[in-house]
Subunit: 336 residues, 2 copies
DNA sequence: TCAATAACTGTTATTGATAACAATAGTAAC
DNA sequence: GTTACTATTGTTATCAATAACAGTTATTGA
């Protein structure tokens, strides 16, 4: 690859003038600039980002760490991040962790060593070690934004859904259809945002004078298979639920599977509502009614918050809470 | 961030010894090495990848260009790429193009300027400009591997499914169930791999002494909505198909939607088979019978081919063809 | 005991850009 | 004609590492 000195030589100027022609064109006379640009084009010259990063201490890379891109919750987030980032000439380094703490930690090491400008962490679990890791990153002064998670006592930026409200609205919708016995297929309660969803469920019941029962809560792990298993548990213990509130679409997929295999007709025998609205939920039979999370916007906003703070050279401190929206399809029905 | 000189100073050695301790530990005495490593750890020293890249002309980055990560065909590929890459300490830069040629070209520019070590191109359309772009990259000596595409007359590496065979097997499976009037919802025939699929369909008909009819082919664009529209076209023109072969799962999703809205029962009234096996196809009602493409393996192998060739410092020249596998679910039925 | 060799460690140059400061030329004002 | 200023361009140092080569010990064998 041709470098800045060769271009300078061909154009009969110093390399600094070439550098300026690219980075501060207003400092170079139009005539010189045109000449330089012409020669640069002809020679296929491109300023080396590596050399530039060496000097400026900025790489224009942001790291995006998530559990598993195969989970359909994430691609839209990734797309949002990439779209915003590229507008500003940043590139996204994607990495999957499978929620493995060691992997997460080694990725952060790798990113630091690469001098990336900021990190977006999606779906970090929030245990003790995660908290420690996050604190460490923040202490090092690397701008970081969380997506779909927040960690109490850690002062970091994040973008989340109003989870309390989403669960409240979902539950309220079911109650509005006449349901009173509503089971919950819950995501792990050790994670803060799922506690918020449970609180939303409780609050909605309470506001409708329905008694909350702890034994109606069945906890899974966010996978389809755990939705299936948990539904099975639920139905072996009780057979009189008229509705289920699942905390994520994936677990609703598992419920659908269980119901199909056991001749439980959705929505005639059972209403199902969940939270997420992943891309294929509309194509289940019946199409899934769900609280749509603004996944693309979460990614887009997180990238915006991150990159703006990188440019201002300060740690981001924005907390953004987005509203979920009820997508009424056909998995819920009025109870007789 | 602390640099190599500070570590050298603290350890009472030259910076080269520190460099060697990290890169060629066998050249440094155990005693010195341990001391250096201890000090490096305590100081939180990490060799700067940027400076290293500056000198070695290798960045350990690979670029992954694809149309749209939201399309469920791609996440598994991405996962495969990332998994292989990270084993070898490479990181993946992800970028979406929406099949826009300009975006594609500017990404390639960006990647070149960043000095990435290789490119994986997934789902490149294959028109004249794409061919030109690809030829350009190859001419520059940047290792490149295509996924799910190959371009005639361009001598590049690729990883694809045996598309002829996949379509042949799908069609043959339908014929085996007694179907003779089999419509095709086709992906764009300007793309080579889809021509191969059509040839597979024809060959299977031919081998079973069924006459091929051009007017049974309806071309869509790989989206769900085009599957829907194309199905509509098909059913307004004909009402006696017993089966449809869709060239991708997404278009099968569209067919399902059309059928649900028009009281056509799958598989009683219509058998549907397709190619892909994206993650949620198993959760349609009825679960979709489809030829599973080894998406994860495609990504993994492409990364392997690419990175191995990067390490050997030569252009990759491997063409890998993977077999698709029939996943028999419940969308196809014996015809009476 | 000394030369030859092996095992380590060090010095200097280099990578391709930008930062900081220096210098020059040209123009306007006095 | 000199000064002051602006616009433009140039020189040198710097960023943090590795490459290439040079040196220094330590060890071995005759």
């Amino acid at each position: 690859m041709v470098n800045i000195y060769e271009i300078a030589k061909k154009a009969g100027v110093s390399h600094m003038t070439v550098s300026r022609a690219f980075n501060n064109p207003e400092l170079v006379s139009e005539k010189t600039r045109n000449k330089i640009m012409k020669i640069a084009n002809e020679s296929g010259y491109r300023p080396s980002q590596v050399a530039r990063s060496m000097r400026t201490k900025k790489t224009n890379y942001i790291g995006l760490i998530l559990p598993d891109i195969i989970n359909p919750f994430f691609p839209e987030i990734v797309r949002g991040v990439d779209d915003y980032a590229r507008k500003d000439k940043y590139n996204v380094i994607l990495a999957n962790t499978d929620n493995d703490y060691e992997v997460q930690a080694s990725l952060v090491e790798m990113f630091l060593s690469r001098g990336i400008d900021g990190i977006i962490l999606s779906g970090i679990a929030g245990g003790k070690k995660d908290t420690e890791l996050l604190n460490n990153i923040i202490k090092k002064g690397i701008p970081t934004v969380l997506i779909d998670r927040y960690i109490p006592d850690v002062n970091s930026s994040y973008v989340i859904t109003d989870n309390f409200r989403a669960a409240y609205d979902a539950t309220n919708y079911l109650v509005g259809l006449g349901h009173e016995r509503i089971g919950v297929i819950s995501s792990p309660q050790k994670i803060k945002i799922f506690q918020d969803r449970l609180r939303g469920y409780k609050a909605a019941l309470n506001d409708n004078d329905i008694v909350f029962r702890d034994e109606y809560i069945f906890e899974g792990d966010e996978s389809i298979s755990s939705g299936y298993k948990t539904a099975k548990n639920l139905f072996t213990k009780y057979d009189d639920f008229t509705a289920i509130f699942a905390m994520c679409d994936f677990m609703a997929f598992g419920i659908y599977k269980y119901c199909r295999e056991n001749n439980i007709i959705i929505p005639d025998d059972l209403s199902v509502i969940s939270i997420d609205n992943i891309y294929t939920s509309a194509f289940l039979t019946p199409p899934l009614t769900t609280m749509s999370q603004k996944k693309y916007e979460m990614g887009y906003s997180a990238a915006k918050i991150l990159i703006e703070s990188i440019k201002k050279n300060k740690i981001p401190d924005t907390q953004l809470v987005l509203k979920a929206k009820l997508i009424e399809r056909q998995s819920c029905k009025k109870v007789k």
